[in-house]
Symmetry: C2
Subunit: 147 residues, 2 copies
Amino acid sequence: MLTIGKLGIAAGVKVPTIRYYEQIGLLPTPERSAGNQRLYDAKAQHRLAFIRHARDLGFPLEAIRDLLSLSDTPEQSCAVADVIATEQLSAVKARIARLTALQAELERMITQCAQGTIADCRVIEVLSDHELCGEGHGARTATRCAP
Amino acid sequence: MLTIGKLGIAAGVKVPTIRYYEQIGLLPTPERSAGNQRLYDAKAQHRLAFIRHARDLGFPLEAIRDLLSLSDTPEQSCAVADVIATEQLSAVKARIARLTALQAELERMITQCAQGTIADCRVIEVLSDHELCGEGHGARTATRCAP
DNA sequence: CCTAATGTCTCTAGTACCTATAGCTTCAAG
DNA sequence: CTTGAAGCTATAGGTACTAGAGACATTAGG
């Protein structure tokens, strides 16, 4: 049985966050010790680890709630979970693509910045350019994003 | 001169967000038309594009404020902007690495899930495993993250 | 056994970054 | 000239935490 602090360390989640998850019903109300402190078993630890990893994946808490409800009621079809995971996978892929483009932009910024002063540093210009519009937002008509 | 809606379309930013940026001082208070509507020039559009792209890069608004202040006072050293960008670059790289690992995990989840019911679907188990701990949180001592 | 330090408790409030609503005014197209 | 979209202000709500205050619990050292 783990106290909340140990659980937090074990799962990589801050203590107030655990209590928050309990409050919003993502974690069940745990056992309490004689002194009213929360006590968690391995099952709770798995559940929290699941939440933490799903958050890392970019799942919003509502999607996590769905996933957990699937696990809590195993009669339901896996297809539902599959749909959620598939959706999330494409979101993750899109995020990777965007971040990769932005990484290139940052690297270029840094290179261009070199050692000058702002006067000859193009950090701001580079970032206000719409060179990434292809993947990003819908500004192609009004700005110089077109090829 | 653009109205706020046109500006929003041009920069890929929602109208209330533009007003919010003005409210928190990221955008200067713009000119107004006879009928009290905001009017933006190309400079404002660049500034907003800069903000939008920096947000895409994952810069928090405070960092963006710093960057903008650098651009507003060009005497200062570019090195400061460089430091911010460099910091952000490593954050971006870390995020890409994490997301790539998580993408693999999601793909495996989906493959494993196939067409079964939750009973033989390991979505939850896979996500509660600590297989990604190497890059992630600090649970190596308390969980089975060790090699 | 006692004390000091650390951990945990509840509760409230604050943060970041928006997003939505209500109720009004202004503008542009037919 | 009218009507419907777009703009205005102001306030409230949303997500996902995070921090602080003040009280009780637990644990390690002397």
